[in-house]
Each structure stands twice: as C-alpha cells, then as structure tokens.
Assembly symmetry: C2
Homo-oligomer: 263 residues x 2
C-alpha cells in the first residue's frame, strides 16, 4: 500500500469507506479541497440554505445535495457521504449523542447534505506565498473566538460569527488579504484586521475553541470567518437531528484548491 | 419635483409605489444596483434556492426573503416588494396571465421573494473604463441567446443557460474580463469568449431574446451568463404561480454597484 499522504482523494475515500482510516484528515491529499459536513432533515433545509446564502463568509457552500441524495455530483465522483468521512458527530436536539464511522444505518430519505468550504484550502495558498501560518508552525489547532459580529438570521438559525485568528507580521497582511480574497468559497478575505476588542474578542490567549498560538510583539492579529460558525448555529437551534463531521475529520474532495479560486 | 434621473433610489421607489412611475428603470438612480425579481410559493422555494446556489453565474442571489416577508433587509430599507417595482408579470403554470403594477391583492403568506443581480451593474463599470457596450451605444436591448451549456438542475428546475453578448475590440477583452470578474454577484466574468458555435449559438444576428447589435469585422463576441436564465427555467418548470418583474422594470436598491464588487 502506498503511504497515506501519497494517495489520491478517491483512494483515501475508499480507505475511509472500508473502515481503514478514521483519523483526522489535515495533510492528506495536499492540493485538494476538504469540506465541512452538515446533514439536516428536509424540514430545516430551506432555513439552513438561506442562512448560508445570507452569511457566505462563515458558511461558504461548496455543494448541496437534494433530499435523500448521498452521492456528491460536483465535489467528487463515486463519493458516498454516508461512509466516506472518517468520523461523524450525531447530535439530537443540539446534544452530541454519539460518534460514528458510518451513518448508513441512520440515513433517512429526507436528509439534506451541505458541504461547506474549509480554511485548509487558503492556508495552503498562504504558505505557498511564504505567509506564515502560526498554528501550523506550532503544530496545533487554529485558535477560534466567538465575536460580537451577528450573523444574519434565517428561520430558526441565528447566532454570532465565530472567527479563526492568524497573527501576521505587518508586511504580510496585504498579501494575506489578496490571497484569501481569491478564495471566496473557503471563507474568503478576513473579516477584521487589528483590534480584537473591536469584534468582541477579549483575550487572544483564551480562544473559545482550538488552542492559542504565539503572537509576537510586532504582529497583527488577522481574523477570518470560521466554519465552526454554522455548526455552532445549528447546535444552538437544536434541531431534532443533525449530523456533522467530527472536528478535523473532513470530507476529501476531487476538486483542487486552485479550482476554487476566483481571479 | 426633481427630474426622475436625479432622484435617490428611495425617492424613485416611493414614486413607483404611488403609481407615478410604471416605465422601465435603466438609467435611473445611476450607480445603484438594480435587481431581478422572482416570487414563488414556499413549496418551490428550496428547489429554486438550490438551483441558484448551483448556478451562481446565471442566478446570482442578492437577497432572499423569508416566507411571507415583503420588506427587504439588506438591499434597501423601507422597500415593499409588493408595490415598489414598476411592473410585475404574473405567470400561472408557466403562462403569462397578467401584468400588474401592484401585487398586494394577490400576495400570499407563503410567497418567497428572490432578488437577483442584473448586468446593469457591471455595464456601468465597463463604460467607466472605456470598454464599449454596443447595445447601449445603439440604444437597444442586449442580444441574448439560448446556449447548449446546461445549468445544473435542482428539483423541478432545469434548462440551458441563456447568455447575453457584447462584441469587443480585441484590445478590450482582457479589461472586460478583469472588470466583470469583480462583480460575481451580478453574473461575474464571461462564460465564453470567441466562437459562438462552441456554446450552441448559430447566428449572432438572430438572438433568441432582445435585439441584435453591430459586430464589426475585428471584434470578438464575449458572452456573459444572463438573468433571463432563471426566468426561463422557472417558466419551463410551470409552477402553479410565479411573479417576476416585467423585463426592464427592475427593483432599484440602495446598494451601490461598487459595494457589490469584490477585490
């Protein structure tokens, strides 16, 4: 067998489907986009789709499947949403009930699948341009903060935007804005540069999710809308049932990050 | 009273609401975005929203209102979708039944309103950069063609992409691509440059909608996804009821075209 990080997206999805890989996906299939998963019963689907339409920065839709469909059409061929993700979180009324590696047994004909962009895509582009990505340098999860920026509500879905933070040397800020602006479908340009308190972030050293990273004296904290937002919003709305990927255990697509870029 | 083309978007919407303006809107409130209208009963709303999500170039969503809502939140304040558009087309089962200037009497609590971007926004940007817009020079409606490019279907909605064509001198093509790429929410970059037959367009002189324009010997036809696509697709799907603006009689928003631009 080839080393896992040399496998194609399709080969990795097959390993996952066969139960031979249930670990996190960062670093796998470099160059290819990975996606966040949200599965909801159809009665919530219009409201959630509308929430994503109204909040494209935290909720950038890469693909939405029709009710009952579990095979992607544009992100990958031969992918099965029920088996091709290493770990699934099953939430009932907003509470984590179980973690599964296969959801075929609980699949329902009215499930609607949403696949959302993930910042892994733009981090790869940043690093290629020598823009430092601190949490990768320090080998930890990105620090994330609940802000005072309200999302636009839609039906039962509402809540504050969650952001991720990457500290940058001042001479890299412009380049980072330019690069991530090209990636609108994976959170796009930053939502804030500079003063954390302006967006309701009190202490950079105490993130709400993930781990804090070193911020050097001269560095400027740069904040991007974060894919934790839709999950936090869905959990808060407490639908009967919601299935997501487990954090870090993403869907690996056949689409190159560069194919997602505009301009 | 001020000359109509000096009025603000809000002043023009009030005139329209009072029944004092029922004519086309091009040239009014220059600098401000105008929008296409599609109103559908809620049972069709998820499928249509999904269709737009899957086909962002022909169907760029500017704002979607929740079921029953008729006041916009982000495109304008104080706007009433039922009265603030000069003319409405009322379709039943895909057939034009009547043209109205006010839809309050037929409004239903389950109506969902979609407002979609319109190429007027990027045409203004093209002209400011000295890129010629032939149909405006020749004072006629833009030529539009049904292509062989399939839209991605969603539920009952499917059909070919309709494009508009603007002939350009070769030295203006790059600039036109750059400028319109900035306007993703109003159709964005061209879908095709050059050979009409490659996208199923047989004769430039015989558009399917609008009027033909002069294409000079050296000029290159450039094709953009067109807002007629969602209307053609909805008519083809024959929903019980659908309300749209009458062609050229758009919703005038408080949002500047420049606010819609990315980068």
């Amino acid at each position: 067998m080839k080393k896992i990080d040399l496998l194609t997206p399709r080969e990795i999805r097959l390993l996952i489907r066969k139960g031979k890989w249930d670990r996190p996906t960062p670093g796998l299939a470099m160059g290819f986009a990975q996606a966040n998963l949200v599965v909801l019963p159809q009665k919530y689907a219009f409201d959630f789709l509308l929430f994503c339409q109204r909040n494209p920065k935290p909720c950038p839709l890469l693909e939405v499947l029709e009710p009952g469909q579990y095979q992607t059409r544009s992100l990958a061929t031969d992918a099965d949403i029920r088996t091709d993700i290493p770990r699934y979180n099953i939430y009932r009324r907003g509470k984590l009930e179980s973690i599964e590696t296969d959801i075929r047994k609980i699949w329902q004909d009215d499930f609607v699948t949403f696949l959302l962009g993930c910042s892994f895509s733009f981090e790869e582009a940043l690093m290629r341009a020598k823009v430092p990505v601190r949490h990768i340098e320090e080998n930890r999860n990105v620090p994330m903060y609940i802000t005072n920026i309200p999302c636009k509500s839609a039906g039962i879905f509402h809540g504050p935007m969650v952001v991720s933070m990457r500290p940058l040397p001042p001479d890299k800020v412009v380049r980072a804005v330019q690069i991530t602006s090209r990636f609108a479908s994976v959170h796009g340009a930053p939502v804030h540069v500079g003063d954390p308190s302006a967006i309701g972030v009190r202490e950079l050293a105490k993130p709400d999710f993930g781990k804090s990273v070193t911020v050097r004296q001269v560095e400027i904290p740069v904040f991007w809308a974060c894919g934790v937002t839709p999950q936090a919003v869905v959990m808060e709305a407490k639908p009967d049932l919601c299935i997501t990927h487990a954090p870090g255990h993403m869907f690996i697509s056949d689409v190159l990050n560069e194919e997602l870029a505009t301009l």
